[in-house]
C-alpha cells in the first residue's frame, strides 16, 4: 500500500474517525483505524469500538499502490495532527511490517496490527429510513440533546428519542426527568409507518461534530439494534438504546394559570449573573426564585457564602394569576435561556402552578419547546 496525500486532508479524515476507536487496549483491533487505499474508492478510514463506528473517505489522494493496513488510532491521529502542512507519503513497508509516514526528508515508522482482525462496521439491511437537511438535524439536536441525562438508572434517559409519527412528523425528544426538550420537523417522506428509536448521547455528540448548516441531506436508517447516519463519503453506525421511552406527551402541560412574555436577552443575562451565586452546600443545586407582579419580573438568588442578587426586569407582559412565585434550578433555566438568546426577541413562559412544570416556548417559532419542573423549597408548600 502506498499513497500521497495533503496533510490537511489526511488530518481531517483521522480526526473524524479516531474517536470511534476504543481507548481500551484489551482488543488491539478495536483501538485501530483501518486504512484502505483503492484506486476506485480513494482513501477510506474506518474505526469502531463495536458501540459506535465511523467510516469516511476522500478522493483527493494519489493512490500509488492499493492495500489495507490497521494502525493504532490514537498514535496515528496524534502524529498526523502534528505534521507540517505539506504532502505526506504513506506506505506499508513489507520488510519491517511498519507503516512509513514520510514528510519532507523525515519519516515516522508506525507499528501495525493484523488488519484481518478488524471486525468492520455492523451495517445490515435497513428497516426504516428518513432523510433530512443537515442544518435541520443539527438544529434539532443542539436544541434537545443537552437535556438528556449523563447517568440514569433508566438507560433510555441517557439518549435522544427520534419519534416518527404517522403523519410524517419527526419529534426529537430528550429528558433527564427534571426537564424535557422537544423539537419537531415535518419529514418529506410520505406514507411512513410510525417508528421510534433512542440514540445514545455519545453518538449524538459525534454526529454533531460532522453536521454543518447546509441544506445537504443526511439519511438516518435503522436496523433492529443499530442506527446508521449517512451522507456523501461519511457513515456513522451506532448501537441503539434498548427500551421503551416513557410517554412524553403527558409531560407537556396544557393548562396554565400565569403566562409571561419576557425579553430574551435580559432574561439570559439576568440568569448568567445569577449563575455565579454558589449553590447552598446542603442543597447543592443553584436556585433562582422568580416573582411576577404587575409588569415586573424579579429574579432572586441567595447564597450564605456570597450574598444575594436581586434582578428586576421591567416591562414584562404578565397574563393570568399574579403575583406568582416559583423556584427553578438556575443551570437548567440558563441552558434553555441561552438557546432563546440568539433566536428571537421574547421568551414565553407558561406556569401551571408553583409546583407544576412550566412550558417555555419561542413566540415566533412553534417547532421547539421546553418543559422544566420547579424546585420544591421549604416555602413552596
Amino acid at each position: 500500500m502506498k499513497f500521497i496525500i495533503e496533510k490537511g486532508q489526511l488530518s481531517t479524515l483521522t480526526t473524524l474517525v479516531h474517536r470511534a476507536a476504543s481507548n481500551k487496549a484489551t482488543i488491539p483491533a478495536l483501538s485501530g483505524i483501518l486504512i484502505e487505499a483503492s484506486r476506485e474508492k480513494g482513501l477510506t478510514m474506518t474505526a469502531t469500538d463495536m458501540e459506535i463506528g465511523i467510516k469516511t473517505s476522500t478522493e483527493q489522494v494519489d493512490i500509488i499502490e492499493e492495500g489495507t493496513v490497521l494502525v493504532n488510532a490514537q498514535y496515528f491521529s496524534d502524529f498526523i495532527k502534528l505534521l507540517p502542512d505539506s504532502p505526506v507519503t504513506i506506505s506499508l513497508n513489507h520488510e519491517t511490517s511498519k507503516l512509513d509516514i514520510t514528510y519532507g526528508r523525515s519519516t515516522g515508522h508506525i507499528n501495525i496490527y493484523d488488519n484481518q482482525e478488524h471486525p468492520g462496521l455492523p451495517v445490515k439491511e435497513a428497516l426504516e429510513k428518513i432523510t433530512l437537511p443537515q442544518k435541520v438535524l443539527r438544529e434539532g439536536l443542539k436544541k434537545t440533546a443537552f437535556a438528556a441525562a449523563h447517568n440514569h438508572f433508566r438507560q433510555v434517559f441517557t439518549g435522544v428519542l427520534f419519534d416518527i409519527l404517522e403523519d410524517g412528523m419527526l419529534k426529537i425528544v430528550a429528558s433527564d426527568t427534571h426537564r424535557l426538550t422537544q423539537y419537531t420537523y415535518m419529514l418529506e417522506e410520505k406514507g411512513l409507518e410510525p417508528f421510534n428509536f433512542i440514540i445514545p448521547i455519545r453518538t449524538i455528540n459525534e454526529i454533531l461534530r460532522v453536521l454543518d448548516d447546509s441544506e445537504e441531506k443526511i439519511s438516518i436508517c435503522t436496523t433492529e439494534n443499530h442506527v446508521v447516519f449517512q451522507k456523501p463519503r461519511f457513515l456513522l453506525v451506532s448501537r441503539l438504546i434498548e427500551g421503551q421511552y416513557p410517554s412524553y406527551d403527558n409531560v407537556i402541560p396544557g393548562t396554565f394559570k400565569t403566562e409571561v412574555d419576557i425579553d430574551a436577552y435580559k432574561f439570559t443575562t439576568a440568569l448568567e449573573r445569577a449563575r455565579i451565586v454558589p449553590a447552598d452546600e446542603r442543597i447543592k443545586i443553584p436556585q433562582i426564585q422568580i416573582y411576577l407582579e404587575g409588569q415586573e419580573a424579579v429574579f432572586k438568588t441567595y447564597s450564605e457564602m456570597m450574598g444575594e442578587i436581586i434582578e428586576v426586569i421591567e416591562g414584562v407582559d404578565i397574563k393570568g394569576e399574579s403575583p406568582f412565585k416559583i423556584v427553578f434550578n438556575t443551570n437548567y433555566l440558563l441552558e434553555i435561556a441561552r438557546i432563546y438568546a440568539g433566536e428571537g426577541e421574547k421568551v414565553n413562559i407558561k406556569f401551571s402552578g408553583s409546583l407544576s412544570p412550566a412550558l417555555i416556548t419561542n413566540p415566533e417559532r412553534d417547532n421547539y419547546l421546553y418543559v422544566i419542573v420547579p424546585l420544591r423549597t421549604s416555602t413552596s408548600n
Binding site: Q116, E117, H118, S175, E242, Q244, P246, N250, V373, L375
Partner: protein
C-alpha cells in the same frame, strides 16, 4: 483471525441478549398490564398513597416506579396529575 471471530461472536451475543431483553420487557409488560390498568383508575386513598410515596422520595411514574428519586420528576408529576 480468532480475535475477529470472537469480536463478531460477542457482537452477535450482544444482539441476542438485546433481543431477549426486549422479549422479556414485552412479557413483563403483558403480565403487569392488569396492575397498570387498575392503577389508571386509582381514586381517593390510593392517590394519596401515591402522593405520599412521591413526597418520601420515590418515583411513582410507571417508568421508574419505586426507585429512589433524585429531585422532582416530570413523569411522576404528569402521572399523578393524570390520576
Amino acid at each position: 483471525m480468532i480475535i475477529r471471530e470472537l469480536i463478531l461472536e460477542v457482537g452477535e451475543l450482544k444482539e441476542r441478549i438485546a433481543n431477549l431483553e426486549k422479549s422479556m420487557a414485552l412479557y413483563e409488560e403483558e403480565t403487569r398490564l392488569p396492575a397498570v390498568t387498575e392503577n389508571l383508575f386509582l381514586q381517593g386513598e390510593s392517590y394519596e398513597k401515591l402522593g405520599r410515596l412521591y413526597k418520601e422520595g420515590y418515583h411513582v411514574c410507571p417508568a421508574s416506579f419505586g426507585q429512589v428519586r433524585q429531585g422532582e420528576c416530570l413523569f411522576c408529576i404528569a402521572f399523578m396529575e393524570k390520576e
